[in-house]
Amino acid sequence: MLGEAWAAMGSNRLRTALTMLGMVIGVGSVVLMMAIGQGARYAVAQTISTMGSNLYMLISGSTNAGGLRSGGGGGPSLTVADAEAIAELAGVSRVAPLHYGRQQLVHGSSNWNATIVGTTPAYLDARAWTVTSGYPFSDSDVRSATRVALIGQTTADNLFGADDPIGKSIRIQQSPFLVIGVLGRKGQNLDGRDQDDTVVIPLTTAQRKVFGTPFPGSVRTVMVQADSAEAMPAVEQRIIALLRQRHRLREGQDNDFYLRNLTAAADSAAETTRVMSLLLGAIASVSLLVGGIGIMNIMLVSVTERTREIGIRMAIGARQRDILSQFLLEALMISVAGCLIGLLLGIAGALLVNAITNMVIVISGGSVLVAFGVAAGIGVFFGLYPARRAAALDPIEALRHQ
């Protein structure tokens, strides 16, 4: 049976090849799109996992002294004392005030521009950021405003090249800092910024030596980590209530701070890529459908062309199911062969995309299996109608056919 189907396909090679091409393109694009879609989801998931879990970012607005908005010129509304008060709230596990901005770094004759983050040790814990060599700074470093620095991988590479940065000195705003540790690699964040192009220093040192602030004790941002994802909505309410009370905001007055749920933002980014990859898959599926219709079309032509052959086969004893399975098998062979080639081309295409654009691609056994199953399903689905038509032919009518 298989040999016969093969021979039938071989009897009109060009037509078989063109029919197969429809499946090749269909399966190829599904595999490629799934590889890109899953790659994007994987990349986002990776990025989210580097962010830390259950995080809020609290950003200060302007002070609201005497009920008058002081506008952009006012000092930050949040204070270190606010941060300490938030840390006491139920459901809050870590609080880290932050001060950050880009600054020029100097080491010997090397120059580099990186993001400086002034914070407390809780920041690294909240973000699950490890120190891969050297050691982190401590709360006492923050209290005494020591000039120590932890540097990210990108900063280390650009400033020190192959040298070991530990124990070396870098200058930020004329102040020398001792590099005491190198941070583990995080890669890009959701906005596409390199998280490893960073120098983390004690909050107090940053305020006094790097950024300078006319409002001692105030901070621009505070990172807050909740105990669990379930606790997040309640913690959000508690933070807002606490800060409104501490800032003496009256009812009807706007908050003088913004609370951003980073986890929710990450979830929505993940959802966006999920929808995007579904969309890509759906678009590619259309070409698979078109390929399937191509198979149906050719099988119908084939049944018409071979009506006499069908009559002969019936006359010598073929049952309806023999004819049915013969044509079904041919459709299946075209679709499965097309699927195999499409699979290879799709994977090759995905690798090419990866090589050219550096886009993350993921080719999972699951997606390959799905493509294969769908192709086989299409072979059966679109092959069934022509095959049934063939099987339902009347032997006498079929034999009379020229």
Binding site: R308, R313, A315, I316, G317, R319, Q320, D322, P395, L399
Partner: protein, 236 residues
């Protein structure tokens, strides 16, 4: 006494045409015993092919009964009819009806595929039958490479491959010259001598003369049924 191989009673067949039902057979009664060699004759349009298609289980009668080996065909389903076409009957057509893509051996072996016979055994049987019709050397050839007479022998080999009791041939010599026709009829005579029942449709008297019984159709009815000098049926 065993039942006759073929018995038809008041067999009728109407075709639906634009001008209403057209009765191609109008009540045919006939019995053919095992081992007979029957020629069916008659004018064009007298219903010979219609009759043969009914005997071959390719078509179903509109009225009357057809008993093959004592079994009424009327109650049989599609698959059972296919099984009869496959095992009990070998059909030989005027136009040979070989599958052009396949080798002669594969053509001959095709009924065995539907009988569920193993590949190796199929090959052996096909070669055996090709040898029986004198074409052993052509097993690997394609139908388009051989003459019409040879193609008809291959078709006969295909009809024989499942060892049927009955060969039905509708104008098997209609596309052949007289010399080749005689070859084919001698082949049928030999097969009949081996005990196979043969029914041949023909227009030509000298072809019909090979048979031992001549049945004549006219307008869907049998008008004469005579034994010829060729003699009595062979044992089977």
């Amino acid at each position: 006494m065993p039942p006759p191989l073929i018995r038809v009673a008041s067999l009728g067949k109407s075709y639906d045409t634009a001008a209403g039902p057209f009765p191609a057979l109008r009540g045919v009664d006939l019995s053919i015993e095992c081992g007979e060699f029957v020629a069916i004759m008659g004018h064009s349009g007298s219903g010979k092919s219609t009759f043969m298609n009914l005997l071959g289980c390719l078509d179903t009668p509109s009225s009357g009964d057809y008993f093959l080996l004592g079994r009424n065909i009327a109650g049989l389903g599609q698959d059972e009819l296919a099984a009869l076409r496959n095992r009990a009957i070998g059909f030989v057509f005027q136009g040979f009806n070989l599958l052009q893509r396949m080798t002669l051996a594969d053509n001959v072996a095709l009924p065995l595929v539907y009988a569920g016979v193993e590949r190796e055994q199929r090959r052996q049987r096909a070669r055996q039958e090709l040898a029986r019709v004198g074409l052993a050397d052509y097993a690997a050839s394609l139908p388009s490479r051989i003459s019409g007479g040879q193609q008809q022998r291959v078709a006969i080999a295909r009809a024989l491959v499942n060892s049927p009791q009955l060969i039905l041939a509708d104008e098997p010599t209609g596309n052949l010259d007289s010399h080749t026709s005689e070859d084919i009829m001698r082949l049928f005579t030999r097969l009949n001598a081996d005990g196979i029942t043969i029914v041949v449709v023909t227009h030509e008297a000298d072809i019909a003369a090979y048979a031992r019984r001549q049945v004549r159709f006219l307008d869907g009815l049998i008008v004469s049924d005579i034994a010829t000098p060729a003699g009595a049926a062979s044992a089977c």
